[in-house]
């Protein structure tokens, strides 16, 4: 058993190194000075110039904008979507499958399709260049994600537990809170992480619907793609920094991804 564990760990590390290689390579790019940016030599003198240059200008503001928008979009999507997912999972009604499919359909339109109508609507409502406007449009892809993912995870929690509770006098939503939700916690954690990432990474909507005040990080990074030459150092540094909050978020949510809360299911 010991050697098997070592093999698994070794395979994981090897796989990790291969998978992370492009990201690691970008990391080292961020420490290179301008002229040497594409030198393939492994030895070079690292410099913090790129990171220093990032903190003047629009990048810090865009960074915090991204955090705010992603957190808000995730919270809102979970708030609206998880109860809906639970209802779709537990309630037996005829239109269940169709409604689920229509919810999924809201996610299918490519950004190209929605950008112009949203732009026109937002201009009319004064929501251009606002964080709230972004949060709302991110619902168009996050809500469906939450509903479908959580419905799937709730389906994986046997009904019997809640039915027992219902018989015992427990309300539907108490049963949800006390039984289903804790048991589906790994799914909740994963879904939250995904929502955060999807909102964090959106580029196209942010590009068209914001200007300077509500600029988010992905758009700020594209700002370094200057006409006379891309500022590779800053792009790499920006890309590295942009990874960090999501990693932090995932670590915070990690508890919910762990088995342990699922111990003691129904005894058949």
């Amino acid at each position: 058993m010991i050697s098997e564990r070592a093999v698994v760990h070794g395979a994981a590390v090897l796989l990790l190194a291969t998978v992370l290689f492009p990201a690691l390579w970008m990391l080292q790019l961020s420490f290179r000075a301008g002229g040497d940016i594409f030198d393939l030599s492994l030895t070079f003198t690292p410099t913090f110039d790129n990171y220093r240059a990032l903190w003047t200008g629009l990048f810090p503001g865009s960074f915090s904008n991204s955090i705010v928008v992603s957190l808000a979009a995730t919270a809102l999507s979970l708030l609206l979507g998880v109860p809906a997912a639970y209802a779709l999972s537990r309630c037996r009604f005829r239109a269940r499958r169709s409604i689920a499919l229509w919810i999924l359909a809201t996610r299918m339109a490519p950004p190209v399709a929605f950008t112009i109508p949203f732009f026109l609507a937002y201009r009319f409502l004064g929501l251009i260049d606002s964080l709230a406007g972004l949060v709302v449009i991110y619902l168009t892809f996050n809500l469906a994600l939450v509903v479908w993912m959580m419905r799937n995870f709730f389906d994986g929690v046997p009904r019997a537990l809640e039915e027992a509770a219902w018989i015992d006098g427990c309300g539907v939503w108490s049963g949800f809170r006390l039984i289903a939700l804790p048991l589906a916690a790994p799914g909740l954690g994963a879904t939250g992480v995904l929502c955060f990432i999807m909102s964090w990474n959106d580029f196209f909507y942010a590009l068209i619907l914001t200007r300077t005040r509500a600029m988010t990080a992905p758009v700020a990074i594209v700002n370094f793609m200057q006409y006379e030459g891309w500022e590779w150092g800053k792009i790499a540094a920006g890309g590295t920094l942009v990874m960090l909050p999501v990693v932090v978020f995932s670590v915070v949510v990690r508890r919910y991804l762990v088995r342990g809360l699922t111990a003691g299911g129904v005894k058949e």
Partner: protein, 457 residues
């Protein structure tokens, strides 16, 4: 807009404190510019107080330089200026959506070269002639005629009305990063297409470096070759917009150009975008590039590995002549602006002789469009790279550009044909189609696109 204005005000104040001298000189200049009868009264209200101008341009060196001078304008006129300079792709995408939906968020905008046809052709900018002709609005010593005709030509519609004041003209020329390799093979900077083929053959893979590397926006980098062979994009723009991509001349040009790419370009040459080309040349990993001046002059930059071995020439000539492209960007006033007069004041100030001269003298800016300043002693030597004087190339090319072969650029459906040309050259260079097949397909698809745009041929 309030909070943003507050934030901007803080940094502007800081900048003002540092640039007080500049400010005084500039305020004087701006004051001189301000029109007769509109000079700021002693201690009285400034002409534009209470007006807010929203201005945007892509982050070119000129636009970024101008940021430092904007406080002078605000000081002299009392206007508040919201000035943004996003990067090129972001600017174009945003402004295109803004203009095409009839927005009025901006008062002064840059008219980007590749969108001239659409933005001007669709009437999204206002003609500037009424402002130019009005002595109340444009002082005589501002001299609109001082701008290079080759640069202003691009911003005129078929009836000759002007829609933008050019602040830069990027010319298509040729540069060699490793001219020492040319010399070793006994070649000089080629001046004809055949000369290019000959030179490429001689220097290809010398020192391990591929010889030929243009950028892969072929709707820009291939056209001088197309026209040099006697071909054209449209039969007779702007009257006759029939594409003529499948003429024998066009096919010959495509075949020739794609062959250069295939035989003398680096691996994956058709994937090299403009920024990659410049980075590759600067690192000395490719040699000859027919390209825009704004990129080629960077070969002489401090962080360029080829600063000591680069050389330059005019765009080579084909059997039917020399047709170097000229890419101009200019300031225009969008049709939806609510402050058009104030906008014009900004434009006259930003493109005034004193301001441009300040940029040349104080910041070494060299890509200018005012003839008087190009000829001035202060400008001498500014456009010299590795001992080669580029000013002559610049002026000769712009003079050629005024001849009218650039008219295809001002056709608003050119982007569609541009894409077809990109596709065709890629197809030929990657071996998917022969030159005849590719250009014929480009022709068919262009016809379909024009039909979709409602153009009657």
């Amino acid at each position: 807009m309030g909070k943003e204005g507050e934030a901007k005000k803080m940094t502007l104040l800081e900048r003002r404190l540092r640039r007080r001298q500049l400010l005084r000189a500039g305020a004087a200049a701006a004051g001189a510019l301000l029109l007769p009868g509109r000079a700021p009264a002693q201690g009285g209200a400034k002409p534009l107080s209470g007006t807010t101008l929203n201005i945007a341009c892509w982050s070119s060196p000129y636009a970024k330089l101008l940021t430092d001078y904007v406080p002078q304008f605000e000081e002299a006129t009392g206007a508040k200026v919201n000035y943004e300079t996003p990067s090129f792709p972001i600017y174009n995408q945003r402004i295109d959506v803004e203009l095409s939906t009839g927005g009025s968020s901006y008062d002064v905008l840059n008219v980007t070269f590749i969108y001239i046809g659409r933005w001007i052709g669709a009437g999204w900018f206002v003609p500037l002639d009424p402002y130019l002709k009005d002595p109340q609005k444009t002082p005589a010593d501002w001299e609109p005629g001082d701008f290079l005709p080759g640069a202003t030509a691009a911003f005129k519609d078929p009836s000759g009305r002007l829609y933008a004041i050019p602040w830069t003209a990027d010319i298509y020329m040729a540069g060699a990063a490793r001219y020492d390799l040319f010399e070793k093979s006994g070649k000089t900077m080629p001046d004809t297409f055949d000369g290019v083929a000959d030179a490429m053959k001689a220097v290809h893979m010398k020192d391990g470096i591929p010889a030929f590397l243009p950028e892969n926006h072929y709707g820009w980098s291939f056209i001088p070759w197309l026209q040099g062979f006697g071909g054209n994009v449209f039969r007779d723009p702007p009257e006759d917009l029939t594409p003529v991509l499948d003429t024998p001349e066009a096919i010959a040009a495509a075949d020739f150009f794609a062959k250069l790419l295939r035989d003398y370009g680096p691996d994956g040459v058709i994937s090299y975008t403009y920024d990659q080309v410049v980075a590759t040349l600067k690192a000395g990993r490719a040699n000859y590039s027919p390209n825009g001046q704004i990129f080629l002059v960077q070969l002489g930059a401090k962080d360029s590995k080829v600063a000591g071995t680069c050389n330059f020439s005019m765009c080579p000539a084909g059997p039917k002549g020399r047709f170097p492209g000229v890419a101009t960007h200019g300031w225009g006033i969008p049709a939806g602006s609510n402050n058009k007069d104030a906008a014009w004041q900004f434009i006259t100030w930003a493109m005034s002789k004193p301001i441009i001269r300040q940029m040349v003298v104080e910041r070494g800016y060299s890509s200018i469009t005012r003839r008087s300043l190009i000829d001035s002693p202060e400008f001498k030597g500014k456009l010299t790279v590795n001992g080669h004087d580029i000013v002559k190339i610049y002026l000769d090319t712009i003079a050629l550009g005024a001849q009218g072969y650039m008219k295809y650029r001002t056709i608003y459906v050119y982007p569609q044909v541009d894409k077809q040309i990109d596709i065709a050259i890629q197809n030929i260079a990657s071996g998917q189609l022969s030159a005849t097949a590719a250009m014929t397909q480009a022709q068919q698809d262009s016809l379909a696109e024009l039909k979709r745009a409602g153009i009657k041929l």
